[in-house]
Symmetry: C2
Subunit: 93 residues, 2 copies
DNA sequence: CCGTATCCGAAATGATACTG
DNA sequence: CAGTATCATTTCGGATACGG
């Protein structure tokens, strides 16, 4: 929970499970996140080795984010949580 | 994550997966939690229907906590997270 | 395009003492 | 036994503006 907790991390992982994304693409996938929060969460996930950050020395700059094998190992967990969340809403409603 | 997030909730669920517990027993199982935090987390989990709180009108007072079916449905998730956490520590170390 | 800097309010957690 | 009350600290998340 220390690694995955908070409002955004699992959402970011979920997006990256669909493939490599650039910063702006992540912003589009998570429309309400501010650039500050996105940067922070990405850096923490990188430092926890959930994802990789790749900088291409180009103009304009290009930075790509993709899951490590450790991060990719969360696929089942995310699915599990999705399922449980749906069941939860059903029972609570 | 809204239901299970935070420092203590999953730990409490994990303890209750081993059976019904009283307040003091939960404190013993989670030695660093303060009574204030334990109370708060228990009330939130109760309000989210993860666990049940049963008060017996006795002297001295007895209050028991146990998982609902919804809460018990988290067993697999907890196991999954445990496994992933162990793998995580191994890879990180 | 991909971020940083600064400031802010709210929420989470903790320490300590006390009570029916 | 099973909590409350009070106070302080820390962390989280957001708004806004700016920069290489």
């Amino acid at each position: 929970m220390e690694v995955l907790g908070g409002k955004w991390k699992l959402a970011i992982v979920k997006v990256l499970l669909t493939g490599t994304h650039r910063f702006a693409a992540l912003q589009r996938a998570l429309p309400t996140i501010t650039p500050r929060m996105l940067t922070r969460q990405l850096r923490e996930l990188e430092s926890d080795r959930i994802l990789r950050r790749t900088v291409y020395a180009e103009v304009p700059p290009r930075v790509e984010y993709d899951l490590t094998e450790l991060g990719a190992g969360l696929a089942e967990l995310v699915e599990w949580l999705d399922r449980w969340g749906r069941e939860y809403r059903k029972v609570r409603a």
